[in-house]
Symmetry: C2
Subunit: 314 residues, 2 copies
């Protein structure tokens, strides 16, 4: 059985034909080129789907279903209610895809949720039915899978673990709350924490590293730590403690089989994951339970969303 997965991003539209082993057997891509009208964008979505099918040597009659991962929130009727970076306001995505592709099984879902589903089934989750994906990037994204299905709640806007407060009255968050996990554990937050430490420690090697790279990045403090820099070590320790805090909250709520860490910061690999596992092991509720969540790195990279979109079901 073949399915089409579409990853609609702010930069590119990617569509792929996915087989039963969750492998992408053909893929096509075009720039999203915003700002454009939804009609123009959906014309291009249909075009890349057709290109991917042509490359796979199949037609729409060979396709069981089509899934689209989109920024923002898609409702139960397949309408993208709101997607800020695409300028979408109540775009009837499902209807527009059915019209353009002639396939009636069409599913629309938030992109972070698609990526979580993809990793759970085809990536680091290895088929885990209870799974949480966390992305440490510009923000803290997340997708939750319970019993093999995406958790998005009654208005399909759920799964926003990054907007859980971990410090009452703490750092302001882009969402309007104060003290969200995102405001402490995103790459953006790490960069702010690094800059603050650099001001406090004018002799830190972080100044040299930032100069070399041309900017302070999510790697600056980690690189400084690897050189034994005290300020770097402090920044990384504190940052990892914040990441762990939110992860333990999720363990205590979901006790997932696997927690997947993605996003830019996950490139630190075991440097990040090992201390996270230690925190979780010592603070999870209850520490007596023999079965523990595995903490692993995301595997599928940019393909996660496309594969997850292909797996979507009604």
């Amino acid at each position: 059985m073949l399915r089409i997965g579409i990853d609609l991003g702010g930069t590119n539209i990617v569509a792929g034909v996915v087989n039963d082993e969750y492998e992408i057997i053909a893929k096509a891509k075009t720039p999203t080129a915003i700002p454009r009208t939804p009609e123009e964008i959906f014309d291009d979505i249909a075009m890349v789907c057709k290109q991917a099918m042509a490359e796979a040597g199949v037609t729409i009659s060979d396709i069981y279903s089509v899934g689209l991962g989109t920024p923002g929130t898609a409702n139960a009727e397949g309408v993208i209610e709101y997607a800020n970076n695409l300028g979408f306001d109540h775009v009837p995505a499902k209807e527009m895809l059915i019209e353009r592709l002639g396939c009636d099984k069409v599913y629309i879902e938030n992109d972070a949720n698609c990526a979580a589903l993809g990793e759970a089934y085809a990536g680091c989750g290895n088929g885990a039915k209870d799974f949480v994906a966390v992305t440490l990037g510009t923000g803290v994204g997340s997708g939750i899978i319970v019993d093999g299905k995406i958790v998005s709640g009654t208005n399909r806007a759920g799964g926003e673990c990054g907007h859980s407060v971990i410090v009452v009255d703490g750092e302001p968050c882009t969402c309007g709350r104060k003290g969200c996990w995102e405001a402490y554990a995103s790459a953006t937050a790490l960069i702010n924490q690094t800059k603050a430490a650099m001001e406090k420690y004018p002799d830190s090697v972080m100044h040299d590293l930032a100069k070399e790279e041309g900017k302070v990045s999510g790697r600056t403090a980690f690189d400084a730590m690897r050189r034994g820099d005290i300020a770097g070590i402090k920044v990384v320790d504190t940052y990892i403690k914040y990441v762990a805090c939110g992860l333990i909250n999720l363990v205590n709520i979901f006790q997932p089989e696997v927690i997947c860490i993605g996003g830019g910061i996950c490139n630190e690999g075991e440097t990040l994951l090992r201390p996270l596992r230690r925190y979780i092991e010592s603070e999870r509720y209850s520490v007596y339970s023999k079965i523990q969540s595995k903490i692993v790195r995301a595997e599928l990279g940019n393909d996660a969303g496309l594969i997850g979109a292909a797996i979507l079901e009604g």
Copy 2:
């Protein structure tokens, strides 16, 4: 179709026969009388089940299934792995019930999860499929229903929202972490917050109220607030802010149809619920979503766990 629900508590064992309308048509009760051996306790559980069936005028052949709500954690095999207050350590509850009752459809589940299921189907949830129950009592208990089923994770120990940190490095919690929601939003926490305010405000009417009642309780600050006492108002405002913080975290993760508030503090009714709704409305992610979680008071009281246990399925 008739089912049996059993509420195994530290004080009493209650069993009831429940019909398709989730009504308890007969009920029986006996003291748990701990400490006793699991065998003695399960003999009494079987006895109250038989008493309830006799009162309903039915026999075990009329019963479709039997569900038991227990403190602690029950695993997928129906073994109660650990229940501190009962002194249970790996008690094969399912097997012991099958043996004693002669019914093969037997389900064992944590009591807070049963209570959530009961409220979702038969109480304030009014059949809501996405539902979160929060109990503000000695601790902060919770039970989560997604797509009509209890969320308890891979080791069945999940749903512990009270042990989510809302204040990094905050008040110590009984679970070993620091800054858990439970350490700020439980009745116990409210009492501690009230006592701290009484020390700071020797002229507060809370001193008189506590003297009248013979102790500081979860009601002291609320009663003082109703009399216009500044210190009482401060305590209640801060307490409600903490409760709201954790609730908004849950809204952002689950976007449930209904959030049910139970436990001693919920007796404050709208005095508690109205400001909670205001907080949630202004901070939920995203505030643009038209569909909002309803915040309501638990309806079923002590019957929630029994009815929920009767609804359990494999």
